[in-house]
Structure formats: structure tokens, C-alpha cells
Amino acid sequence: MESSKQNIILEAKNITKYFYDPVKVKVLNDISFAIKRSEFVSIIGKSGCGKSTLLYVLSTMDSDYEGDLFIDGENMRGRKEKFLANIRNEKIGFVFQFHYLLKEFNVLHNVMLPALKLNLKSKEAIELDALNKLDMLGIKNLAVKKPNQLSGGEKQRVAIARAMINDPLIIMCDEPTGNLDKKNSSIVFDIFKRLSTEQGQALLVVTHDPQFAEDTNRIIEMEDGRIIRQ
């Protein structure tokens, strides 16, 4: 019992959320589940079922909800914005449908940015880390390029490298393959698989793609703000 509790990285307890505009709508209804270390979880469901909303609540970016959210054993409710920002910086990695790379910086600097913010290692060490991550994703040769010189699949891989740079406990993805063709999708999937098995990182992926979800460890299916299968 004790060991399984320690293995839990993220736990949602009775999370309920409303949208108020234009009328009060319950978008998340009493959601409870937990994610363990190195688990590869996907959330599927129809458009508008609340899966992205759930992801943003779990990511701590959205703090307007009822219920409790534990990340690495700490309750996130009612915490200050700065505290939550530090949690995101240190313990969560993000990959979105859009890459959100800063076009003013080159690839390497984009990957380094969250680690520079965390400010635990020297700049040289961070640079080495970033090059290692890029190497792991097979795009080390792109390090000095600017994001606008990259293809869509390459950009997404840079975004994944950025999500990995601080070795977070969990990487959260919102439609990471939504903009990618089949070949690039499978590359991204393989990377995620390797992350969970080799690095022991948990992955929480919101996706539309049933084939993508099929190959994950665990599928959470949502409908109308409720979990109907997990």
C-alpha cells in the first residue's frame, strides 16, 4: 500500500469545474483518478467533453475548480500563482498541439529556457543537457537553427525536448500529434513510449486519435465532463 502511494505522481480527487459564460455549465463533474510513475495514460473523448479543460486543471494553469489536486503528494488548491509556476517549471513538462517555440531564440536556447528559469545548474551544464535531449530525439543537428527553419515534425520534437529539459515527473500533452502527418505522429509516439519506459516519466496525453490511444498503457474516456471508462 505504502509503495503504491509513493508511486502516485498526480492525483485528482472529486474535481468539478463550471464555466460561467454565458450560462453556468458544469464542464467537469466529480473527476477522480491517479497517475503512477512511468505510466502512459491517454484521455480520449468527443470534442467538448471537457478533456482539454481537465488537462489545464491538472496542469495547475487553471486554478478555478472545486476538489483537490495532488502533485507529488502536495495539494495544489489555493496556492499562490508563483508557487504554481514553480511546480510547472520543476515537475511538469508541456507539449501542445502548437509548438509555441519562441522565434527570437534558436532551438537550443528554446530547449534551455525552462532550465534557465529553474536555475539549478550552470549554463554550461544546461546546454549539455539540452544537447543530450535533442540527441535523444535525433535532432541534435538542428540545435543552432531558428524555429522558422524547421518542419512541423521537427518543431514538435523540439517542443518535446523543451518539456523534458527539467526531467519532470509528468509530461502533459494536448493533442501533440494533431498537426502532424502519420509518419511524424508515429515518431512522436515512439518518443513518448521511450520516455515512460526508459526515463520513468509519467505521460498524460489528451488525444483525438483512437489509434494513438490504443497503444498507451491506460485509456481514460470522457463524456460530458465525466469519466465513463478507465
Binding site: K82, A85, E90, L101, F105, P114, N119
Partner: protein, 417 residues
Amino acid sequence: MNYSLIISVSKSLLIAKWKQTLIAAIGVMIAIAMFIALLSFMTGLNIMLDGLILNRTAHIRLFKEIKPNPVQPADNYFGSGHNFISSLKSNTARTEIYNNAAISKALQNDNRVAGSTERITTQAFISYGVIDINAVVNGIDVAKEAALFSFNDYIVKGNPADLNNIPNTIILGKALAERMTVNTGDVIQATSVAGIRYQLKVVGLFQSGINDFDKVQCYASIITTQKLLNKPENYITDIGVRLKDMSMAPAMAKEYMQIFETDAEDIQSANAQFETGSRVRSVISYSVGIVLLLVAGFGIYNILNMMIYEKMDSIAIMKATGFSARDVRWVFMGISMGIGIFGGIAGLIFGFVFSNVIDQIPFHTSALPTITTFPVNYDLRFYIIGISFSLITTYFAGWIPSRKAGKVDPVIIIRGK
């Protein structure tokens, strides 16, 4: 907070949008440059105009006023009580300052005093050919007058030191000399109120810029004037005192009046209207400068606002990956302050250049014969005020947009894609 990271992000955003940045910085630069040029020029002009009066006027003038003796024999004879004396007349028998050597010495030892000089003022007729003109002859110590009251700046012809070096010499006001068609080297005849006539050689011409003044004023050495009046060597009618701090003049005038038992007039009561003009000019220059900076501030505000809309994505991902609202705010404050610093420094340089250009423009005035170009006051204070203003304005111009950037909700941006 990791300042070096914040600064490096600000710098990258600044450089990425270098055209907008440049325009904003140019706005600040022009404001600061104009501010400095305007103030340097205005205060230069102020100092020059003030100098017209201040430089040649004694801060405190010690003299003996022509007035009835306050202690009348009747008071001594009848003792206390009130005595009515009718037909009381002023007495001009002794217009000199008693014991003036001791007073001069006491003034020399007073460390509030920058210097003092003795003078004799008297009326005389100046005759040349058939003309007699009434004039005021000032007996002066040329070296001291030059040191304390910039006497030499107003000599348009001749050498003022000749007053001391050559006996029986005089310097005439330029307007007076023109009326009589006298030039340097000519000999005029002066007749004093004592009825004594002297042949005096004209060694120089004097121009104060105030024509009425130049029509009646003449300068001779103290000894020449004493001879003209047939007075002994200790005859002095005025002592001009220049203070280290002009604002002390009223209080010190009262003090001297008591100690030296003479009359004393301070420059503030003699020229009361005078400071108002310079103050109004300063206020105008400062307001124009501040308005220019405000306009530049609004420019920065606008550009930062635009930049925040363009950089919504970057702000969203920065917040998602762990930058707090405060970090984001400081990134944008960094941009604003960067514009302020570079615009400000460029403004200082251009302000100096503009002042220099103004300083080269020819400017001739009869008031000040020694001045040939526009007066400019290179005061370090304007540069310090300029750079502080630029930093303060850009700080406040950046404040509201930066707060806005800090409040961006990443969820809304990311969902929108």
C-alpha cells in the same frame, strides 16, 4: 528571481523587434536631447540676462544717504519727550563714509564676503569744444572692479588698466562719447561740483547695454576723482560688497548698517522685480521638456502594448513552463527600461551636440559687447535630470503594459489555437 535570464529574454525581444524599439528609443532620445538643449540655452540666456544686472551690481552697497540728521540738538537739549522741529533740512556736508579703511579691512576678514571695492560717485560737467554735458564720474579701483564686477567685459575700446597707469585719464560711456564726438586719445575737460577743472585724457569707451546709463556714466581712478573734488585720500563715498552667497544680502545689509553706522542697500531690494523673469523662463523650459518626455512615454506605452499582443504565444508558453506573472512583468519592464536607457543615453549625447550647435550661432547684442554667439549653459545637472526623467518615464510607461502581460492567462491563449 533570475535577473540575468529576464534581461536576456528582454534583450532578445528588443532585438527581434528592433525597428519598433528604435522608433521608441528615438522618441525618448529627441525628448531628452531637446530637453537638455532647451534648458542649456534658456538658462544660458537667463544667466546672461541676469548677469546684465547682477554681475555689475554690488550685492551690498555701503554709502552715506543724504538725509536730515536723526539726532537733532533739540533732542539733546530738552531730553525725553517729543520735539516738533519745523523746516528741517538735509545736510550734505559729509557724504563720505567715515573710517572707510577700517570698514574695508573688516570686510576683507569677513569670510562670507567674496570681495569689496571702494568707489567715489560724483557729478561733473564734461566739456569738449563748445558742449557741456552733465555726467556722473565714478572713481573706481579698476583691478578690483574687473575682478568683482566684470568691468572689463563692458569696455569696447581702449585698455581699462590705463586708468591706473596713466594719470588724469577717464573712460567715457560710449553713448556719451558719441554725443560729443570724442574718441580715445582726445582730451576733455571735467568740471566738478567743487568748481575744479581738470583736463582728462580719454583712454577707453564703455558700453553697458543700457543706453541711458551710457549717456551719463564716466569712470576715472579714485585718485583722479579725489583731485577733481579737492578731497583728501581717505574720501570714499561708496563701498561695493560682493558676497559668496547672494541670498544672504538682505540680512547682511542690516547687520552692516548697525556695525559700520552707514546706510546699506542690498541687491534684492534694489532689483526686486528681477528674479521673477528668470524663474518664469525656467518654469517654461522645464514644462516643455516634461511635455516632450510625456509624449515619448506614450509612444513607449503604445509600442509595448502592441508588442504584448504580438507576443501572446510567447507569454503563454513562458507561463506554462514556469515563468511567474512577476517574471513576465519584468521581461516587459526590461524592454521598456532598455528603451529608456538607450534612448536616454543617445539623448544626452544629442543634447550636448544640439547645445554645441546653438553655441555656434552668431548673436550680437549691444548689451554685452563680449558675447558673439548664443549663450549656452553646460550644466551637468540638466544631464542628470535628463537621464533620470527618461528612466522614470519609461518605467511608468512600461508599468501598465507589463502588468497586462503578467496577467495573460495561458489557458485562454493555448485553447484559442
